[in-house]
């Protein structure tokens, strides 16, 4: 076990591994099978399934939304392949050079309009 502060707010991986090893009881699979059989033996009432459905519904909806988003993203990427000349480049090429007017040009414009 590495030296760590007891104040640490992170889980202690070494101590955690020791605890898991020590506290994992014998034959976990057999235990799970017994537990499942015991639960199956208890008749489920309508309320129980309703509650589980209420719990599962938002998670299923979230998964569906995520899947739809990914699908949409894929379709969008497929149809928006770059053309020979992107629009922004074409606009940049059409723009006249020296769009920032020099002080001389501004002065000339003011004089002409003053006439």
């Amino acid at each position: 076990m590495r030296e760590k502060s007891s104040f640490s707010t992170e889980p202690d991986a070494d101590l955690g591994a020791l605890l898991r090893e020590a506290l994992t009881g014998p034959a976990p699979d057999a235990f799970m099978a017994r537990l499942e059989a015991a639960v199956r033996g208890v008749s489920a009432e309508r309320d129980q399934w309703d509650t589980l459905a209420r719990w599962a519904r938002p998670r299923v909806a979230l998964a569906a939304a995520a899947a739809a988003f990914l699908l949409g993203l894929g379709v969008w990427r497929h149809w928006s392949k770059p053309g020979p000349e992107p629009e922004s480049v074409a606009l940049a090429a059409a723009e006249p050079q020296g769009t920032v007017a020099s002080p001389g040009v501004i002065w000339q414009t003011v004089l002409l309009e003053g006439r």
Binding site: M1, S6, D12, R20, E21, G25, F31
Partner: protein, 155 residues
């Protein structure tokens, strides 16, 4: 399985822990209509497990002195490295036995199962600061108890 480990940390007897988990799981299933789907399911379920184990532990303490766990006894005769490992495990179980039950639950959930302080607070129904204190004291005690065994293993 976190539920089984929590029950075993509290009860320190594999059979009793399995019984506690099974009966608590059945209780949870019967009472699932009371579960609020907007809250964490695992915190709700583990609270039922922890309470069942803590109740059983209290009843047992009232009944009589604890018998030594058969599960622990079965681990004592092993060759070389495995023996050292088993001794470390036994020391760990002895260390857990010296901790108050709620500290055991907090330590196992935090360090072994990766639960957050707030989740453990929901399981134990105590403030988050209390959980931090449980984890701190439990860790300090466990390190003190385990230190000689770890040094032995390194040698």
């Amino acid at each position: 399985m976190a539920a089984r480990r929590v029950a075993l940390a509290v009860l320190r007897n594999a059979d009793e822990a399995d019984d506690a988990v099974q009966s608590a799981t059945l209780s949870a299933w019967r009472a699932i209509a009371r579960y609020d789907p907007d809250r964490s399911f695992r915190a709700w379920y583990l609270r039922i497990i922890a309470n069942a184990a803590l109740d059983q532990f209290r009843r047992r303490r009232v009944r009589a002195a604890e018998p030594l766990s058969d599960w622990l006894e079965s681990r004592t005769v092993l060759p070389d490295q495995a023996t050292e490992r088993a001794l470390l495990r036994d020391r760990l179980m002895e260390g857990l036995a010296q901790l108050p039950e709620r500290q055991r639950v907090a330590l196992v959930l935090f360090d072994a199962e990766g639960y957050s302080h707030s989740e453990i607070a929901a399981v134990l129904k105590v403030p988050e600061g209390t959980v931090r204190s449980y984890v701190f004291h439990a860790r300090r005690a466990m390190r003190r108890i385990l230190a000689p065994a770890v040094e032995e293993e390194i040698r």
